[in-house]
């Protein structure tokens, strides 16, 4: 549409237009002030020693790449990075697998059941993160949570958040529960474009369900799948609220921190701004690199949408 709508005005007057620049100016000012300035500050600060002393008026000290060297040499920070990557990949993979399974299921059941499943997923998706977290904390609560009750006497008063592995298992359940609806609906939208006739023809030719899935459906929904997987990886890498609120409920910070909470504690907690800035720059660069293919797919829509 845009390609039809835009040219007429442009073709008529080839002269320089001031209007579009005036129109984007307010947005640009806000973005510069609230995002670009902090990013700039962050890049500068990441090359400085900027801690408590600077809070009390001492000028920051230039330390070159020392903060970055520390990211890649400090075993504690390495552990945080590796944990974040592992958590992100496991969660993104689980979310996409379960989401695709639900989408395929949605596509092959009676209408009433499909509606019930869609409403269920929508309600879970609509929950504000913090509200959802309070419910999950209540469900996993050690002394009167339903989950311990369902699992029986062996789990009476079991604290799920004490051990890092079970802490991450709980976090994974919550994150996957929250993220699956988006994947399921997106993939389902893709699936509805797969023609039923083609599938029927394949079935008559003797292709079984798995063959139909891997050889017809999967190649057709590949573009959606790649985008959804990419978005999940980007989103799960920055997971913060879930981890923070699980930690609030009584977990050891040092063994459960992921990138987001670690930066928060380094910056807001210990006022080690130089280090927090370097970590933030690391996260931003990682995000931009990961986002490139996604942005390309959106641009494709801009050009022929």
């Amino acid at each position: 549409m845009s390609s039809i709508a835009a040219p007429p005005l442009a073709q008529k007057k080839r002269k320089f237009h001031i209007a579009p620049y005036m129109l984007i100016l307010p947005a640009i000012i806000v973005l510069l002030a609230a995002l670009a300035y902090p990013v700039g500050w962050q890049i500068i600060t990441s090359f400085q020693e900027y801690g408590l002393k600077q809070q009390f008026g001492q000028p920051p000290e230039w330390v070159g790449g020392a903060n970055y060297v520390k990211i890649f040499t400090d075993p504690q920070i390495w552990a945080v990075i590796l944990r974040s990557i592992a958590f992100c990949l496991v969660n993104a993979a689980l979310t996409v697998i379960i989401g695709v399974a639900l989408a395929v299921l949605m596509n092959s059941i009676v209408k009433g059941a499909r509606l019930v499943l869609q409403v269920g997923l929508l309600l879970a998706w609509a929950m504000p993160v913090v509200a959802a977290m309070t419910v999950w904390l209540w469900l996993f609560n050690w002394y009167s949570g339903v989950i311990n009750w369902v699992l029986g006497p062996a789990f009476a008063n079991h604290n799920w958040l004490e051990d890092p592995i079970s802490f991450y298992a709980v976090a994974t359940i919550i994150v996957v529960w929250m993220s699956v609806p988006f994947v399921a609906f997106s993939v389902y939208a893709g699936l509805t474009q797969v023609s039923g006739e083609v599938l029927e023809a394949a079935q008559l030719d003797g292709a079984n369900g798995w063959q139909r899935f891997t050889q017809i459906i999967l190649p057709l929904i590949r573009p959606v799948l790649m985008i959804v997987l990419l978005l999940q990886i980007i989103w799960d890498l920055r997971v913060f609220t879930q981890i923070q609120m699980l930690q609030d409920a009584g977990a050891d910070y040092n063994s459960t921190d992921l990138l987001g909470t670690f930066i928060y504690r380094t910056g807001a907690g210990s006022a080690n701004y130089g280090m927090a800035a370097a970590m933030s720059v690391f996260v931003l660069v990682l995000t931009i690199v990961l986002s490139a293919p996604y942005v390309r797919s959106l641009l494709k829509e801009d050009n022929n949408g």
Binding site: M1, A6, P8, L9, L23, I24, P26, A27, V30, A34, L105, S108, A113, L117, L121, L122, L123, A124, A126, P128, V129, A131, M133, V135, W138, L139, Y143, S144, V146, W149, F185, S186, A201, Q203, G206, A207, N208, Q211, I216, P219, L220, V224, I234, F240, T241, M245, A249, G250, I263, A268, Y273, A276, A277, S280, V283, L284, S297, L298, N304, G305
Partner: protein
């Protein structure tokens, strides 16, 4: 684009590896049809069970919010809120902290939504109605900016607002929210503006309208649904946001609803938490969100993956 999607299935069929043996077995007869029906029924039942799994936490929040704490902590869960009451809600309302948090959340959200809609709408007009130098760079910047995580920026944003004396200030937080929502809103509105043909506006101008009149009489009413959808999106983002608020709003009086809710459960490692009240509070925060979310869900999904779904 269309030719691609049309051609693909044929290619896919050729690739299907058909074994002669399976062809004989799946001879579509009556028994096969019956079996398929049975499987469809089974799958439908599984789907309903899965729906229950996904909806259970939401149900549990509402159900628990109606029960007194004594029942909730008795050790045996009550799966239906028999004998429930609105006492927990009353307790939350009477708590001194709920109303200030609600007021703070509303203030921040309204400022952010209004500013974001205005600025994003102007920018969307520019990129869908004009071809100007720098348009591509602007679109590219917008698309990348919308991916930037708050977790990679909030320390710097905190330092910036601190130097401006805007910590614990609704305006400061609303400014950050406006900036973080603008990119996606510009992108979403761009689609709506592009959907209203410029010809319409031009023919109105031929009929004697000025450009401004043409815009407000013809284009603007057609854009209303897009503005509503974008506004609701911005509302949801600002209303639910936790990460940046945690860093910026540090004093108790400046808490937004998500921060207030978090403070409520923070003590859950000890026995101090009144879960009935926490669930009532969560329900109060969640219900407006769920309603608004259901209104715009379709648009948001297609906006996020549009390029991919359309091929």
């Amino acid at each position: 684009m269309a030719s691609q999607t049309l051609a693909a299935p044929e290619r896919a069929i050729e690739n299907v590896n058909v074994k002669p043996a399976t062809r004989a077995v799946t001879n579509p007869g009556q028994r096969g049809a019956q079996r398929r029906k049975l499987f469809k029924g089974l799958r439908s039942i599984i789907a309903i069970l899965l729906a229950l799994v996904w909806v259970f936490p939401v149900y549990w929040m509402i159900s628990s919010s109606l029960l007194p704490t004594a029942v909730l902590e008795s050790g045996t869960p009550r799966f239906f809120p028999w004998g429930g009451s609105l006492d927990n809600y009353e307790a939350v309302f009477e708590m001194g902290t709920f109303w200030p948090a609600l007021r703070m959340s509303l203030t921040v959200t309204i400022i952010a939504v209004a500013a974001c809609l205005l600025f994003a709408f102007l920018a969307a007009l520019a990129i869908s109605r004009y071809h100007f130098k720098g348009r591509t760079s602007f679109v590219l910047a917008v698309l990348f900016i919308q991916m930037l995580p708050a977790e990679g920026l909030f320390i710097a944003q905190y330092k910036m607002l601190a130097s401006l004396n805007l910590i614990n200030n609704a305006l400061g937080l609303a400014g950050l929210y406006t900036a973080s929502v603008i990119p996606f809103t510009v992108w979403m509105l761009r689609g709506f503006v592009a959907g209203v043909p410029a010809d319409l506006e031009e023919s109105a101008m031929v009929d004697g309208c000025t450009r401004t009149q043409a815009f407000f009489r013809i284009t603007f009413p057609l854009l209303a649904p897009g503005l509503v959808a974008s506004g609701v999106y911005a509302f949801l983002q600002a209303w639910n946001e936790f990460t940046v608020a945690l860093v910026i709003m540090q004093s108790e009086e400046a808490r937004t609803l998500p921060l207030w809710l978090r403070a409520f459960v923070q003590a859950s490692a000890s026995r101090a938490t009144d879960w009935g009240q926490v669930m009532a509070a969560s329900t109060l925060v969640a219900v407006p969100v769920i309603i608004f979310f259901l209104l715009v869900q379709g648009r948001m999904t297609s906006g996020l993956v549009a390029g991919a779904v359309k091929g």
